[in-house]
Symmetry: C2
Subunit: 296 residues, 2 copies
Amino acid sequence: MNNAYNHSFSASNQLTQKSVNRCFDGEQHYYSHESTSTKTPMTFSIYLPDEALAGRRCPALLYLSGLTCNADNVTHKAHFQQKCSELGMIFIAPDTSPRSSESHDVPNDERYFVGQGASYYVDATQAPWSEHFNMQSYIVDELYDLLRSEFPIDSIGITGHSMGGHGALLLGFKFPSKFVSVSALSPVCAASESAWGQAAYTEYFGDDKSLWAQADAAQLIMEVGQQYTNILVDQGGADNFLAEGQLQTSKLQEACNIAQQPLTLRYLASHDHSYYFIQTVIDDHIEHHWRMAQMG
Amino acid sequence: MNNAYNHSFSASNQLTQKSVNRCFDGEQHYYSHESTSTKTPMTFSIYLPDEALAGRRCPALLYLSGLTCNADNVTHKAHFQQKCSELGMIFIAPDTSPRSSESHDVPNDERYFVGQGASYYVDATQAPWSEHFNMQSYIVDELYDLLRSEFPIDSIGITGHSMGGHGALLLGFKFPSKFVSVSALSPVCAASESAWGQAAYTEYFGDDKSLWAQADAAQLIMEVGQQYTNILVDQGGADNFLAEGQLQTSKLQEACNIAQQPLTLRYLASHDHSYYFIQTVIDDHIEHHWRMAQMG
């Protein structure tokens, strides 16, 4: 590895390092590992600012990506590295589902919103999905513990985009002891009431609507009540998926009102659902999580 | 176009608009048009800050990409939009060669450094390349005039990465009346002495070494002497192509010394040739061109 910054950090042999690139005052790393939750190899990217490379504990932000994405999209296009370098924040982007070249991980069936790239960050209960599609366990147990053991992480916040925004809200409010802060970009706010989520949950949970409700961010927030000082959510006003009813941002607003969960909800006029929107607001999200981490 | 910011700007029917995305306080546009220089359709991206969308003349930066790239790579990965939005600067990324699905544009022959994606921004004199590979004329005449007629452009600076850094130095010093400023990232500084350039120039120019010399940035700078107040060049210290001898940064330094052309040449230790490097330094390049544009 001839382009590594001279530092003391290295991961254990639980992780296979795929790449290292210097970026601002830090390094963008990729790793793969064998997951016991999904029974497949899993890949994630992690940006480590120089403070972390020198072994000092830093706050971390876990970013869950949207439908069809893998770890690359946000790592290449969202430009989180500059702000994370400036603040000294670690940024982790896992994959959005199990996947491999083998058939056993259930490729999607030509619908982009079910199967590979579309886990919804839940543990599926129905065959064939239940064998591998256990992304809730992967994120909040397996990857969470792996990250804490392998990297100098202080506290962890959670965010995400679209299906990943749903994941951030869902896992953040289901496991508030694990995360110090929550935010979301263009989230699917009520998955059980969106066409995307209904198609996926029919596959992953079958007809048991109590499981659907537990995997619906707005319903969960109403059930568990306030968990965070404030949550930040950004939504583009010209987002075609908002118009289509996939996102239902107003349901999140209602849920937070009922739950007395403080919410900063910003609509950005003329902005759409793309990574051009994500890069426009990502600095604000990193700063939100940074402030919450400082408050402890 | 339902995500367009409400503004007065629109291009003429010389251009076909392919996409519009709001990004920071501006819009990322893509256009295609029929080129008379290359006799193929050509695509470019252009970022227009709100000042330009409102019709006010802004300085522009023309960015030439490297081998294998098209307009997408820098537009998706370099994150120039934030700084251009902040300063009110237009940013244009053309394609790196003619290309189409038809055979007449000469696809590359499995060498990534000759043919499609590898024009070197020269006008080829040898068949079959001379029919379509006329990227010097395309950039400095056809596209240049098209940009000035279609968009509210004040002055134009030129930059680029790798083969595109070569292109920026070459065209900037060959046509100094057209550009107010020049910079380059990891440029191929002496194309006629690099293995990449030699393979390409053998195809594009044949054995006429006088044509090779005219298409070598370091030789051209020595010949024409100082043209700019200062030029900015950044190079990663851990760039494998520097070690391989493709870039020959020291030849640029020698040429600028001989030409008495002021040069700010920065080596960034541990940085490589990737877009992670480009995003690390792009803000500085945008600011360099902005300052030069202000000086007139």
